[in-house]
Amino acid sequence: MHIELNVWLFEFALTFYFISAIAGTIGLFKGTIVTSRAIIILTVIGFLFHSANIVVRYIKGGHIPITNLHEASSFFSWCIVLLFFLFEYRYKIGLLGSFIMPIVFILMLSSSIFPREIREINPILQSYWLGIHAILAFLGNASFAMAFGIGIMYLLQEWYLKSKQLKGLFKRLPNLEILDEVNYRLITLGFPLLTLAIITGVIWANTVFGKYWRWEPKEVWSLITWLIYALVLHLRLTIGWRGRKAAILSIVGFILVIFTFFGVSILRKGFHIFV
């Protein structure tokens, strides 16, 4: 049986992310310099296959591959890995990979269960707005995914310090201040991206349907997500909702992101079915 190149590339990427997530999990229990290096190296290899997969699909399909759930969750993961590299390089947060790579792997795994064929694109979507809107949305969501991981790390470390149980991961988790700062950075990155994604989506909808806003479930849930993150930023800047509360909100926000992404697409049929 002939298996297409893009499928091979996807499987390789999935496999390397899987091993990396395993290394990350081992790192939680028995962290050494070996596990943290292994995570980075495995993820880099996976990322190369993954990027090749996206390029191949782009060439074969003639459009940016984000038009079905398989492509969309795969692209979503790709954006997270990209941000993971950037933040790992900039902040060198210990154990970050252990919290991010499982998310990447789960997203890739869910991508793998959706049909993978490269289909003709719905003519409605064929526009350069597709690329701009989708890339903005996914980078924004990827920032929120990272903020989710960092938020969990924060809550864990905060729990250790508050309960005075200074065992387990306490020694290896970073300090609270850096976790809170990175969380804030990620949300200040994700929020404008999501805002722009919604604006470009609105403009695009107008060119396609002659109507800016149609109260489609995806639109509604995106708006709710946007409001949550707007609230996170607002509360932080006005009354100093930082630390634990900010971490919890960024976790809630990401659950909404995931629901908007999968839940709405699967439960309801709309034009965003593919995304």
């Binding site: 470390q157 310090l161 508050k162 005075k164 200074l166 065992k167 306490f170 020694k171 988790l173 300090n175 609270l176 201040e177 850096i178 700062e181 009354i239 100093g240 909702w241 930082r242 630390g243 634990r244 509360k245």
Partner: protein
């Protein structure tokens, strides 16, 4: 050759005995001179700290050597034979080597993993080297002990995590704040422990220091010492807005900081975290303050508990360290064994033989076709060169003179016979 480690420590002798047998000040110099006068003891090192007094020696005969050292201790310090016997441990051979490695690695210390002992051991060794009381065996043993200690320090977590109140405070602060030099530290009250913790915080980067005390003069005095500013006691609540790390140690019999007050402060701080350490007994800070978000309040019991877990962790790591010691003891014993004459002669011969064969082959290749007779002559010549060169060292090694071990060690070193057992 017989390695001995004779001594007593905090486990076997109480402070009264340890004080009496300590070699402090000029006593050490005198002791070393006296030991040097005993021909039976070929090499020796005296280690004297507040927790242990030990003599490491290389003697010709184990049991008579032990007696000599015991008698020396009795006579030198004027303690009774009986007192000494109850406190003294005597290790010889393999056990002595293991003991010395464990002492150096601080596995035998009161607090496992404490760093001082290695420095003390190095000093004792250096002193002995200066006074020329060590030779091949103890030099090698001590260098090995130091490297084993370093290996254990890097390969296990034996010296990680704080085991004192002040270090625990710093360790915790570093898990709350990214950069201590940007944080402001407030000391409320005074006291030995509080001041020590303050010093450690400053050593770890804290620059802004505020000191307050019921008596303003005391605050001023401490503020000068810490390069900070003193404030009146009744204004500290107002200044708390700026404080990121607070250590409280006053003699007050009631809470001087209440939950409501801190809640207000937090509002003004826009919830910037505060780390509060309350080392006063009775406590000076309402324990419920720990329930407020972004406040981390530790009292003296909390810190004790942190230290307790850290000590447990160190003890766990100590088991790993013991395994490293076992491996290193074996390696040392192997080296010691190699110091007997026969294997050295064999190794020397093998090395010479190998060189001879290699060089012969080279020569034959260059010479091309030779006659049988020519080959014989050349071979005979190389054989006799090798034999004649090796004859005198072989004889000397087999004679068994007083300084045979030294000779063997020198020969092994000169001819590069130590191979893998020679660790740099």
């Amino acid at each position: 050759m017989n390695i001995l480690a004779v001594g007593l420590n905090h486990k076997t002798a109480d402070i009264g005995i340890r004080e009496r047998v300590a070699f402090d000040g000029s006593k050490l110099d005198k002791a070393i001179s006296l030991l040097k006068g005993i021909p039976e003891i070929k090499e020796h090192i005296v280690l004297s700290t507040c927790n242990r007094v030990e003599i490491y020696a290389n003697v010709n005969n184990g049991s008579s050597g032990t007696e000599l050292i015991k008698n020396f201790l009795v006579n030198f310090h004027g303690v009774s034979q009986e007192t000494l016997n109850n406190a003294l441990y005597i290790h010889s051979g393999e056990n002595a080597i293991r003991h010395i490695f464990r002492v150096a690695s601080s596995l035998d210390s009161m607090i496992v993993g404490e760093p001082q002992i290695l420095g003390q051991l190095k000093d004792a060794f250096e002193f002995a080297v200066k006074r020329k009381t060590t030779g091949v065996i103890l030099n090698r043993l001590m260098k090995k002990a130091i490297s084993v200690a370093k290996r254990i320090r890097t390969e296990t977590k034996i010296a990680q995590s704080a085991v004192s109140i002040s270090f625990a405070a710093v360790e915790l602060a570093k898990k709350i704040f990214e950069d201590l030099s940007k944080e402001t530290f407030m000391l409320i009250g005074a006291g030995e422990m509080a001041e020590l913790a303050a010093k450690h915080l400053i050593q770890n980067g804290v620059k802004n220091v505020i000191v307050t005390n019921r008596t303003y003069e005391s605050a001023e005095k401490l503020a000068r010492e810490f390069n900070g500013k003193a404030i009146e006691f009744n204004t500290f609540l107002h200044e708390l807005v700026h404080a990121d790390i607070v250590i409280c140690s006053t003699g007050a019999s009631h809470y001087i900081l209440l939950k409501e007050q801190v809640q207000k402060t937090m509002k003004h701080r826009k919830n910037k975290p505060i780390f509060i350490i309350d080392i006063s007994v009775p406590r000076n800070i309402d324990p419920e303050i720990n329930d407020i978000d972004n406040i981390y309040l530790y009292d003296i019991d909390d810190l004790q508990e942190v230290i307790g877990t850290n000590i447990q962790e160190r003890n766990k790591e100590a088991q790993k360290a013991e395994r490293i010691v076992d491996v290193e003891v074996d390696a040392f014993l192997k080296w010691q064994e190699s110091l007997s004459a026969v294997p050295t002669v064999v190794a020397l011969r093998e090395k010479a033989e190998a060189i001879k064969i290699e060089e012969l082959e080279k020569a034959f290749r260059k010479l091309g076709v030779l006659q049988e007779k020519e080959i014989h002559i050349i071979e005979a010549m190389t054989n006799s060169i090798v034999n004649k060169l090796l004859h005198p060292p072989t004889i000397t090694l087999k004679e068994g003179s007083e300084d045979r071990e030294e000779l063997i060690a020198v020969i092994r070193k000169l001819y590069g016979l130590n191979g893998d057992t020679e660790n740099k």
